[in-house]
Symmetry: C2
Subunit: 82 residues, 2 copies
């Protein structure tokens, strides 16, 4: 069965995020004054063959820890859909 997996990766709270700061400044310069706490991360979308949703989620966590995210500086969240 094919599952669609999204791995959402963001810098950990407390880590410097110069890219997020730059986006925040640019948004404010464009007039979006009501914005704050901008963080920029990565989104990895992939299709995955697995027998169950639990198996797909476990494989996703393994892939995120092995390659996709940097556990020292980043946190990740998985979204699995059937």
């Amino acid at each position: 069965m094919t599952f669609q997996l999204e791995v959402e990766i963001l810098p950990k709270a407390g880590m410097l995020d110069p890219q997020g700061d730059a986006v925040e400044r640019s948004l404010k310069a464009l007039g979006f004054a009501q914005v704050h706490t901008v963080r920029v991360g990565r989104l990895i979308s992939l299709a995955l063959e697995a027998d169950t949703e639990d198996e797909a989620r476990a494989l996703g966590a393994e892939m995120a820890e092995a390659l996709l995210a940097n556990p020292v500086m980043e946190t990740f969240r998985l979204e699995v859909s059937g």
Copy 2:
């Protein structure tokens, strides 16, 4: 009221995504043979002052179109939480 907004940006279907191809090759080299159709995009997380969730969503779409996403090459999706 403060809303939490996530802007999920991915290359449009049909656009070349060399970063996604590289991640797919690396996952397969690590033994994750059950993976395909890997796409790499950006995730932008921000806090936003707005009166209603609809207003937050409309502001998010405006920001995504003005600055965060490239509408020629990318699609975006918004997630708003209270």
